[in-house]
Symmetry: D2
Subunit: 91 residues, 4 copies
């Protein structure tokens, strides 16, 4: 998950970008960069990880709720699962 | 929102609890409490505010997706709105 | 802590402001406000709590490191304590 | 920064670990892993990035305040700089 090729591609592009940011941070640390710029790079990585988490949750929402549920039970199960994900990761 | 009396009651109880935590923090500060315990109280408030935000988003999810959508357009609009809320507040 | 009258006053003003934001949120919930504006108010409270935590840590830093340490041992103890606070609350 | 070989080594080890976590996440996504485990992996990366930020700030604190300042002006400048870093990144 996400299962559609387009969603998957977007999410993978974000992961690759975060890895690139880690590479740049490693080079900056090796080169002895100052603390201020290093913290800025880390904060940018933190922002990118939050963006990735949001993207995955939004993709899941679209996949689970973009089509009508097959039954009341399925609808209730989807709502309970999504609710649990929000509770776990909204922090 | 949340509109059901039960959801509203739960959310209001959380808000009142946070206000009570602020009152206790104010008393601790007035009494000259040490930095460590004061930061613990503030961290507890932060956790309670995150819990409140999660509760409101979960209530909204239940209200929006707990019933079948009346149309494709309504379903798409609900998904787009919920997706925007996740993107805005998951950080 | 913070112990200087000025630092204490600034911190208390922030706590009172957060309580005022809780009051406004309670009124909005009682009045049946929509989910979007309610989440915005909660996000503003979250930001204010983070600002308060930062203010208290900065006040502590100024009080601990604004004067020379009386000894090597005191300096080391202050650094260890401040380091622990950063580790505990930077998240 | 951090400048001591030991601090630098610890920080670089954290960056490499985060990159390894990104690699594992990419493999899970390519393999079509479910949303729940994927979000758990992302949350673990988020925690690791916060730990890295804390480590860098603590190293900076040790380097700046582990030795007596050469003058009042230097002490004040160090406190102001560290205070600004706390304000910027404690969120």
């Amino acid at each position: 998950m996400p299962h559609s090729p387009q969603e998957k591609k977007k999410v993978l592009a974000r992961v690759k970008r975060i890895r690139g940011q880690c590479d740049a941070l490693e080079r900056a640390l090796e080169a002895g960069a100052d603390c201020g710029p290093v913290l800025q790079q880390i904060a940018a990585i933190r922002g990118a990880v939050n963006g990735l988490m949001s993207e995955v949750m939004e993709a899941h929402l679209r996949e689970e709720f973009g089509q009508p549920a097959a039954s009341e039970a399925q609808r209730a199960a989807r709502v309970a699962e999504m609710s649990g994900l929000i509770r776990s990761y909204l922090k």
